[in-house]
Symmetry: C2
Subunit: 216 residues, 2 copies
Amino acid sequence: MAKRENISSSVIRRLPRYYRFLLDLERQGIARISSKELAVRMSTTASQVRQDFNCFGEFGQQGIGYSVEQLRDEIETILGIKQHYPSILVGAGNIGTAIANQVIFESRCFDLVGIFDKDVNKIGKKIKNISIMSTDDIEYFCNKTTVMTAILCVPKEAAESLSHRLYDIGIRSFWNFSHYDLSMSLPDVIVENVHLSDSLMALCFRLNQTLNSEKL
Amino acid sequence: MAKRENISSSVIRRLPRYYRFLLDLERQGIARISSKELAVRMSTTASQVRQDFNCFGEFGQQGIGYSVEQLRDEIETILGIKQHYPSILVGAGNIGTAIANQVIFESRCFDLVGIFDKDVNKIGKKIKNISIMSTDDIEYFCNKTTVMTAILCVPKEAAESLSHRLYDIGIRSFWNFSHYDLSMSLPDVIVENVHLSDSLMALCFRLNQTLNSEKL
């Protein structure tokens, strides 16, 4: 479990999926698994699995396979999901409310410490026992409270100025649901984008392609 | 605008982003754009842009650039977003409600024709003027109404049996928010997965990595 410096982004992208599979195996009481079995369950190849896990040190033993618990634990450490990251959510609309109520709550590693919205009708209302504050108070709040991550659930037009305000008060990590490309104007921030409409368009493309091929 | 057969999935993944940029340009009244300018706006290279657009035929003219309107229109056709796909949403929880209220509504190409939930307290209530029906009635409803896509916003445990029921009544296209790997047991379906917790874990990893490097 030594080498962790240069794990490629494609391996990182696969880690959450391995993690989910390993959690399932643990729940089923399975203690050990071979790269071959894991590959079958994940629709990949055994050599891909071995190669991925080799990125972060020696694990499996020939003929014995991997310890599910050890591997799950190691992936937790690598992903950093044993830590706690104080976070704020900006934009308590449909998506923002769903994220606060469910995803953040289930994630365990991101602690929601503040929720902001510009809508006066929402300010003062509670989500998961956190009172919604005015976006005008973001700077005041973040000066008093440590905040590492901002979750942006606002329209593109609002995301531009908001992300710069958050940047100015030291926030360098964003979970971005807006269509604003943060990393273009703020190149030194960490941004994870969720573009739901892009995902829907990709589905659209594949559906349309299938329908067209059926017509031929 | 001839060749469209073998567009790679990585090009497809980039198309929605091009599309969003082109829509913005149109709103700003910009009629033509060079591959170089587009590349700058999208943090990519001009040769990447030219290569991507060459996949679906000849477009830009040397020295004149691309017609924004023509390119936007062509991408709409390629993505299939000019069509309408009748869709149902299963699971009217936090995420499901947000998707129905906002994302589907804004997408224009997916028409929500039915919403289902197993919670008796939700059945009969309305989202976007559509009454929530019991999941028991999915088969009955889909026999009467053409449905092309199912949006699964249910927990993993429910997704397995639900996806098989939907498959049995002919649905072959899924927008999947659950953690159930549909494509493993139903290899001939079109699935677009949205794993919000995976995205959050990827953010976690990058944040943790930055924090660790700052400690060094």
